[in-house]
């Protein structure tokens, strides 16, 4: 009998040792300080009440300029294991200046995914960065909705409305669920809410922020459908010429359904752009998935792969840091807006924030404000 009690005690210890950090991470709040252009913060359920009060509901930050103009929606956290997306959103919320038009930013589009890491992936629960006022910590998330929130998975995920059969795991993937439906999985409901927002607000530009592996060809690029192609090509040329970094253009496939860069363009008047920056922590070949790897992108095995010509990005011993990834996102977004505004002056936007060079020189942490010194009404918990 004593033996059984010992085994149960060990089980309890393992449950507590493993479970409590997961519980704490799920309840950890990231802080973001609303910058000078933030005019409102509201829930996405404003556009679809079906997600109100559920894990699918999420904050939308509105940054409205003094002059009327076009509208842009920036979606981050579609895949929460790609953290430069949410960090770009936080950075823009705190630093973007909007003079003309309106910018909406969703930092955690897949909020459930942001509340836990990938099971079995060996990822840390948090990662941090240095700022002038101390360390700022963020949750490391998962690619899809947590199984805690959307369970069970189907045997096969059938995309709505096209009927394309996909992997079961894509039922929890907010970048296979566009354009969504009101009575589907949570992943479909949140994309449906975003589609309703895009249509009701007459959004012109939709940016979906991502990261991809260095060994995957669709990385360090802008993925667009036909109608967004000229703007993306212009942005790609200009960032290469002016800011000296590579960001090529990839065409959105027409037969692969559910992706933001395909469905948003097909089901609305908006022009979608999916931005990929290289997150080498996502590559399978890396050493331990540490917070440092997420932040600096330095890995000896990825470097070895680079020496053998197996990568699709420029990579050396300096890695591919978070500063570079967020800097690229910032510059490409701003260049897309410039390209758009040139060709659509009546629906143009005028925005500004530090770009690639300035972010890399100063470090991303330099641009984050100290929540303890900010006006309490300006601090939002994500």
């Amino acid at each position: 009998m004593m033996r059984k009690w010992i085994i149960l005690a060990v089980l309890l210890l393992v449950v507590l040792a493993g479970g409590i950090p997961l519980y704490l991470q799920r309840n950890f709040k990231e802080e973001v300080v609303a910058g000078p252009s933030v005019t409102d913060v509201f829930k996405l359920s404003r556009y679809f009440s079906g997600i109100e009060g559920t894990i699918a509901d999420t904050d939308v930050f509105e940054l409205k300029g003094s002059e009327e103009g076009g509208k842009m929606l920036i979606i981050a956290g579609t895949h929460e294991s790609e953290p430069s997306a949410a960090l770009t959103a936080f950075y823009l919320i705190e630093n973007l200046k909007v003079d003309r038009g309106t910018v909406y930013i969703i930092p955690h589009f897949n909020r459930s995914g942001s509340l836990g890491t990938q099971p079995g992936g060996g990822f840390p629960l948090y990662f941090s960065m240095e700022t002038p006022w101390g360390e700022k910590t963020f949750r490391m998330g998962d690619r899809g909705f947590q199984a805690l929130d959307q369970w069970p998975d189907p045997d096969v995920y059938i995309h709505y409305p096209e009927g394309q059969a996909m992997s079961y795991i894509d039922a929890r993937n907010t970048n296979r669920a566009w354009p969504g439906r009101p009575d589907g999985y949570y992943a479909e409901q949140v994309t449906y809410a975003a589609m309703e927002m895009i249509k009701k607000e007459k959004i012109n530009i939709v940016i979906d922020l991502h990261e991809a592996e260095a060994m995957y060809p669709v990385t360090n690029c802008i993925v667009v459908p036909e109608k967004s192609m000229s703007y993306a090509t212009g942005a790609s040329f200009y960032v290469k010429g002016r800011e000296k970094f590579e960001n090529h253009v990839e065409r959105s496939p027409t037969a692969f359904r559910g992706l933001s860069h395909r469905e948003i363009g097909d089901w609305s008047d908006a022009y979608p752009f999916l931005l990929e920056s290289p997150g080498v922590h996502l590559d399978q070949i890396t050493a331990a998935k540490t917070p440092e790897l997420i932040m600096d992108g330095i890995d000896p095995f990825v470097l070895k792969a680079a020496e053998k010509g197996l990568l699709f990005i420029p990579y050396d011993e300096n890695g591919f840091s978070m500063d570079r990834r967020v800097g690229q996102h910032s510059s490409v977004i701003q260049e897309i807006v410039v390209q758009w505004s040139k060709k659509n002056p009546e629906r143009g936007l005028t925005i500004s924030a530090p770009k690639y060079k300035e972010i890399v020189e100063n470090g991303l942490g330099y641009f984050f404000k100290d929540p303890s010194k900010a006006n309490k009404d300006d601090v939002y918990y994500q």
Binding site: R3, I7, V14, V15, L22, Y23, R26, G116
Partner: protein, 50 residues
């Protein structure tokens, strides 16, 4: 939480109950350890930790 999801939690609770019952009944140490290991993910799910 959908009806199917609630049903899955009920099924999980049932399996946890059965595993505990078998754990109590068995006299074989290997089976005791096996039941304890099988309980681990199910308890984490029931407690909504993972």
């Amino acid at each position: 939480m959908t009806f199917i999801m609630i049903l899955y939690y009920v099924m999980t609770a049932y399996v946890v109950g059965m595993l505990i019952w078998n754990f109590i009944k068995t006299k074989d140490i290997k089976s005791e350890i096996l039941y304890a290991l099988a309980l681990l993910p199910l308890i984490l799910r029931l407690l909504r930790m993972k």
